[in-house]
Symmetry: D2
């Protein structure tokens, strides 16, 4: 970390800053220029003490020369992390498509959708048993019963299951049924939940918060890795902007940026990102084209009867058609699907 001091900083100010640097365990490296004095703060993880220097009256600018995250960074691990889930590889050559309804509603509908998406080429099933809903009066999910239906759907189709956990006390329960545990966008900075899933043995699918910067997103992943769980999959799902033509603004820039900064696999969820059925296939293609390792797609056999997010669910026929198109795009960028 490099501190650029204000021009009016005196010898005494400089000494006092250097003393403080030493007291917290780092070495100061002073460089006096014609008009400005610069102090390097040398030592492992100095950046984590940034706040101390921000509060100093005589510090004009702070230049971070290292990232605030460690374990998730490419510097820590150069090669792509490939996560194995019942034999499926996430983050490798193959593009993973996870599909299913927004929420688990009835056994019959879930099984029908699961069988249908499998036939079209999906390799994993998604579905919510615990649902984070803006309104306390909206359907909150079937809870454990929903988890059981998901496990049955897995038995029938052979496809592994991704489902969300919202509550620190449900992590164990969800782990028993799910193959991958999802942390939703609204819980991206629910730090105690991150720590808890960090102790789980299941891979974690972490969704980007609605207004999280990429750096904050990676810091939340770091919470999980710092507890010992290295199997984290990142998922871009749209950020909040001024545009109202779409539900959110799917930030595909984030895909190449994250792939550069971290070794973790990156999925994209265009269903939530754009929120309008007819625009989802286009954004799925774009996601693969810019380097995503996979997709999360909402599919419902009767969207008008869905308990949630019907407007953004593809019909099984639309999904099948899209999968054929995605195969071409995947191959065009040297991947398989």
């Amino acid at each position: 970390m490099i501190l650029t001091l204000k021009p009016q900083a005196t010898k005494k100010d400089i000494d006092s800053i250097c003393d403080r640097i030493k007291k917290i365990g780092f070495s100061p490296h002073i460089s006096k220029g014609k008009s400005v004095t610069v102090i390097g703060v040398i030592g492992p993880n100095a950046i984590l003490k940034k706040e101390i220097f921000e509060a100093m009256e005589m510090v004009a600018f702070i230049t971070p020369i290292s990232k605030p995250y460690k374990l998730v960074s490419r510097e820590f691990k150069k090669d792509d992390t490939i996560i194995d889930v019942r034999g499926l590889k996430i983050g490798g050559e193959e593009i993973l498509v996870v599909a299913g309804p927004c929420s688990v509603e009835t056994k019959e509908i879930l099984f029908e959708i699961a069988k249908s998406v499998k036939e079209s080429g999906a390799r994993m099933i998604r579905g919510g048993a615990f649902k984070p809903r803006t309104s306390p009066y909206a359907f909150q999910g079937l809870g454990e019963k929903g988890l059981k239906y998901l496990a049955e759907a897995r038995s029938i189709t052979g496809l592994p299951v991704v489902t969300e956990v919202m509550n620190i006390n449900h992590v164990k329960l969800v782990s028993e049924y799910a193959d991958i545990i999802q942390i939703g966008a609204r819980n991206m900075q629910n730090f105690d939940l991150l720590k808890e899933v960090g102790k789980s043995k299941r891979p974690i699918l972490l969704k980007r918060g609605l207004s999280a910067t990429i750096e904050e997103f990676l810091m939340s992943a770091e919470y999980i890795l710092s507890q010992g769980n290295y199997n984290v999959i990142l998922c871009e799902r749209g950020i909040r902007t001024f545009e109202t033509a779409t539900r959110f603004t799917l930030d595909l820039n984030a895909v190449p940026v994250i792939k550069k900064l971290t070794h973790l696999p990156v999925l994209v969820d265009p269903s939530h990102g754009v929120g309008v059925r007819e625009f989802i296939p286009a954004m799925c293609k774009a996601s693969i084209a810019c380097g995503a390792d996979g997709l999360l797609v909402e599919v419902h056999s009767c969207p008008e009867k869905a308990y949630s997010d019907g407007a953004q669910s593809l019909l099984p026929g639309q999904f099948a058609k899209m999968m054929a198109e995605l195969k071409c795009v995947a191959e065009a960028v040297g991947r398989k699907l």
Copy 2:
């Protein structure tokens, strides 16, 4: 709720939509215009079923004619809610100033700050024992020890205490020490935590999420009231925008908007909202001028040694000076401080 159908909707489409409306327990009211058909969906809380209609192919627009929140609305309760905390009234004529350090660090510093802000006119103490931090490597708070220090600070000064809870399993513990329980911005849509504090007897201070619309903010308050806890205080603390000159964009428009929509008291936290010490007094004045019922202000006797947010903490002398100025503004708008 009013559905405006697409021009191409046929008699059959209209019948099918009306059937569905009846099946979910509402009455359809059809009005055919020259170029367009409009269907009113009549019945209590029809708006809560909005998603069902969004997924319908033939529905072009949905006009909500009621709000999705009930208990927090002015329609439900016309008069301002005034919350009594150890004799202090929040939401009445008097402006409440809550002040203290960002996080509880040592006993000595906390007591020193508490005494000092009391002298300057603060009526309540703030301080974090459980701290939501972007980095897993940053100071995470003293936990229960911090709560004990806060309780001691209350004994010494007589000032009630506001402190944050982040974890559903800590609600009982925090309730034992705190007079008001804070839900931080990053947990505004941690719905299980909202439900849990909704069962508490303590008043709740709910902070607006970084990218939460005002409607979502009120829906989160509705979660708490729907569990039986009617003592909710709303707090604007800055939203995330493109501007980087300040830490967040304090959205003071929200104050009169929220005061109109709801009966709950509204505080403002300019320390987080603007994030730069020297601009905080101006924004505190503006908050009172536009109708806020109180302020949350970070004060630290030695910001450079603070474990968090030192850059946005006022010095005790700056706080004292500001309080004198705020008194004039409060009186100018017919309030007391």
Copy 3:
């Protein structure tokens, strides 16, 4: 347009609103429901008078049932507009790649870049002679001299030329040299300039403003068409959001949305949208995958010596490599390049 009145609206209020509707030339169509009265405002382009109704005390909601733009809409013209520029078709099967330096600097560099991008498959040259710069002290472009160099580059390579006009008084001059006239993002709502280029015979490349909604973007295109110039090409170039890891947030959602709403061709400018050299190829691929009709790409043979935007310019070798990759993606989505 449908007006939903407030519940307290009286018979007198309703009559007065209907009178006003008639006075401005439309027919009111009243529908009284149990709890609410709805008035349809019938007549061509009623939506253009929306503001009048917004100002009415008793109007609670306004539901627009038609779009505020006409000539640019798919309703007005169902088939894709294909624009012919010296034999090149924009908006057809073939993907158009426009490449060149951010600004025209010297003859030599321009020619070198032009020849190189042609070799790699670019079909048009871009380069700024009049440069909108945030700072009055930054290089403002070579002006007419730059236009002449561009025309020479066209003679040498046979590639048509796109260049920006910023000033209403330069439209004629730029038209003499350019094959397509660009309106930059910062001038998207410079309405007098839009009217002026609407009178030009040259096709117009209209860039989306940094904070323009898609509807506002189309309204700006409508300005140009309303003056008689139907050859407008729309260009997504990134919107302003809270994310700072990239220069702007390229909003690729906009591509399928715009293609649905309008018949005009859509290009994407990932160079400005993402603003970091190494991420541009990924976003170019994504743009084609989601349906863009072409790309605008900045290329510079020596970015470190560029007068502007060097950090986001591809090197000629990087551009050549990317073009080969884009060809595959174009074919995967049924297009040619």
Copy 4:
């Protein structure tokens, strides 16, 4: 400006960067730390060449140690600029309230409003003769006829007049009628227009763009000052964010920030910023409380008949009531009204 190099930068890279620094007229000042090399770029206005260094492969970070604007900065001129318009002082002790209709419609309505706002204490009249409208089919203003009406309103009331110019060719015409020339938000980066009004002798009221950072806003002011016109008044009018409860998000943080960075007077326009009549008085009070030098307020005697922005216009009675309240707030912060 300080360049922090990448750790892998070699001796050769460092030499090459230093050569380039010297070639463009500055002196390099190298400081080698343990893990990183830092180069200071010394010389007047080095910051204006920032782009050159951004494009360099081996430069990891750039720390600007000076601002990119000069003439508008507090460093250039320490004391507040006070602008004299027909004897009125803008930027001094007195708060200036400018009021009037959004657009000039008829003589009668304009005169009626002008007389009424004068009586309530407004010291200047606003009204648009040239109107920037999102739609080409909306009322575009009366043009020169509108300017004449404004001049007549000035004769009748004695109040100076503020009106907008949109077109570089109208600057002379508008100057003949207006006392202050307004540049609207959508033209904040219409650089040729900024240069043109920079040559005018009239004071300029420059509105902040919808998505302009404070730094960009000041750079646009710098354009005007750099042409010799030092009488620039800045106006915050709301920025574009995700919140839809208000028309824009009035960014009052900008007021103390701008007052610190520049010597120019700052007005606030809550009518556009919040866009809903009933919330405007609260935001006017807040604007004065946080240090604004004045207000722009839309007033209309019959908002339902206004050609534009009726929904955000105060009625004359509401304006009169508000002015009495503003007087108290102004005095509370040591100002007069």
